[in-house]
């Protein structure tokens, strides 16, 4: 038996409780500053906590299908998409009661669909497998102490800057001419929701079939993780509240729980504001920084005419609601990792891993700029928006991730 049986508050939990105090303090400051800030802060923190606890990872979702023929994460993603679809449809039906009119719901992630969508998805899928985390994944892993994720996010920022430098070319030659394809325009809400859910069910069944084929005749249960699962408490020493807290903050959540919880956050924030997205804000960071050092990109054409993950510049302040979301993701994951006693500075082994993180980040950043979003904005928020671009981006992501998997297989 380990010494954990008799447990006092250890250092990690102690710092974790301090971090919770910090989260609340930022919330209270946000509350006095702007109506949207506290909502985006809470959503970001919840996003970080959910991802940290469920190890939610879009890269694993795609890559593990190819590498290990495992579909556990992808099934969680698909379940989240299904829940998101139901919620988003209800919200959009309130805003646009008559979808056949040709008017689109403003904030939904219905994005220009064309070459840029495909190329962006391919690059993003390849880059995320190379670096080992997508943009939102790298953000929350920054909070868990992964140094490689800090490098990856630096690469993403540089990639987004490179994209911004070439944006006007893409806009003039491609994106401005691309159409927005929203399924309810022709199919009405019922048809669009039904076809989306059917496609998701087919994908879910396909993943399960793929997995069963690989693991034919094998059945086993995963071993319990002692550091993560609640330790056996001494009889009488445990209050119900303490037991509940340990269950939530120490035990690992399944990807299914993670996917559904993320979808719930996405629905809640869309009710009042807009669906989740992280890279638009990061484009703003990188282009704004470039401006400061005299390497500005000038005016980005058309960005005020399209929804989704493009930078939104706010006059007079550098902090925005989107900043609160991204910062909340890092802070939430940091806090959850501490409370789970999983925070740790994780230093990559050898220079090759740094090159991978940076290179993957660069490719991913350019792809996210081009495809108008990452696995969150252009995929997890786009398919529930009943937008065709979400599906095309998803297919491109899968092909890109397949290429990335083949690549890292060859260069271990």
């Amino acid at each position: 038996m380990s010494m954990d049986t008799v447990r006092t508050i250890d250092r990690s939990t102690g710092v974790g409780i301090l971090a919770v105090v910090g989260l609340v303090a930022v919330y209270l400051i946000a509350l006095r500053t702007d109506a949207a800030w506290p909502v985006f802060w809470i959503s970001g923190v919840a996003f970080g906590v959910i991802c940290q606890r469920s190890r939610f990872c879009f890269v694993a979702g795609f890559r593990d299908l190819f590498l290990m023929k495992q579909g556990r994460m992808m099934r969680g993603i698909i379940a989240g998409l299904a829940v998101g679809t139901a919620g988003f449809a209800m919200i959009m039906a309130t805003v646009i009661p008559n979808p056949g009119s040709g008017v689109l719901p403003n904030d939904a992630h219905i994005l220009p669909l064309g070459i840029a969508t495909v190329l962006g998805g391919l690059m993003f899928g390849f880059g995320m497998v190379l670096s080992g985390g997508c943009v939102s994944g790298s953000l929350y892993r920054m909070g868990e102490g992964y140094l490689g994720s800090w490098v990856a996010i630096f690469g993403v920022l540089v990639g987004l800057y490179a994209m911004a430098r070439t944006w006007n070319w893409w806009w003039e030659n491609q994106i401005s001419m691309d159409r927005l394809s929203w399924l309810p325009t022709d199919l009405n809400y019922t048809g669009a929701v039904v076809i989306t859910l059917v496609l998701l069910a087919v994908a879910y069944a396909g993943v399960s079939w793929w997995e069963r084929r690989a693991f034919a005749g094998m059945s086993f249960t995963l071993p319990v993780i002692p550091g993560s699962a609640a330790p056996p408490a001494a009889p009488g020493a445990d209050t119900t509240l303490g037991a509940l807290a340990r269950k939530v903050f120490r035990a690992e959540w399944t990807p299914l729980v993670g996917g559904i919880a993320l979808a719930a956050i996405n629905i809640l924030i869309f009710i009042r504001y807009r669906p989740l997205g992280v890279v638009g804000e990061m484009t703003r960071w990188s282009t704004d920084f470039a401006n400061q050092i005299g390497a500005g990109v000038g005016e980005l054409q058309g960005i005020n005419d399209i929804p989704g993950c493009v930078p939104r510049f706010v006059e007079g302040t550098w902090f925005t609601d989107a900043f609160m979301l991204n910062a909340g993701i890092i802070a939430g994951a940091f806090t959850a990792a501490l409370l789970a006693r999983e925070f740790r500075l994780r230093i990559p082994r050898g220079p090759r891993r740094y090159v991978q993180s940076l290179g993957g980040g660069l490719i991913m950043g350019y792809g996210a700029g081009l495809g108008l979003g990452c696995t969150i904005g252009a995929f997890f928020s786009a398919i529930p928006s009943l937008a065709l671009n979400g599906w095309i981006y998803a297919i491109a992501l899968a092909i890109g991730a397949y290429g990335g998997t083949a690549f890292i297989r060859r260069f271990p």
């Binding site: 990690s12 190890r55 490689g148 550091g227 999983e342 740790r344 994780r346």
Partner: protein, 85 residues
């Protein structure tokens, strides 16, 4: 229970997915094929659900113990030999 074993250690701390799993597979398949027991050290929580299924596919049993905050040891052992003992 962690330090009782004298079995060889594969230290993949610092590595993230999929490398902890790929390196464990390579150890089991190529570097030490047929090894009766292997201890894998990792600080990457997702590896705790990717390494065991791959080891189990190869007929091994698995146990996970916490070494420190955010660090684990996965003990991979020959299931039959262990059941006999």
């Amino acid at each position: 229970m962690t330090n009782e074993s004298e079995a060889p250690v594969l230290d993949v701390r610092g590595e993230i997915c999929p490398y902890p799993m790929l390196r464990t597979n390579r150890e089991l398949d190529e570097v030490q094929p047929g090894v009766p027991e292997l201890r894998v050290w990792t600080d990457h929580p997702p590896a705790l659900s990717t390494i065991p299924p791959e080891a189990m596919k190869r007929g091994y049993g698995c146990e996970i113990a916490e070494r420190a905050a955010g660090e684990w040891e996965i003990r991979i052992f020959n299931a039959e030999a262990s059941a006999a003992g």
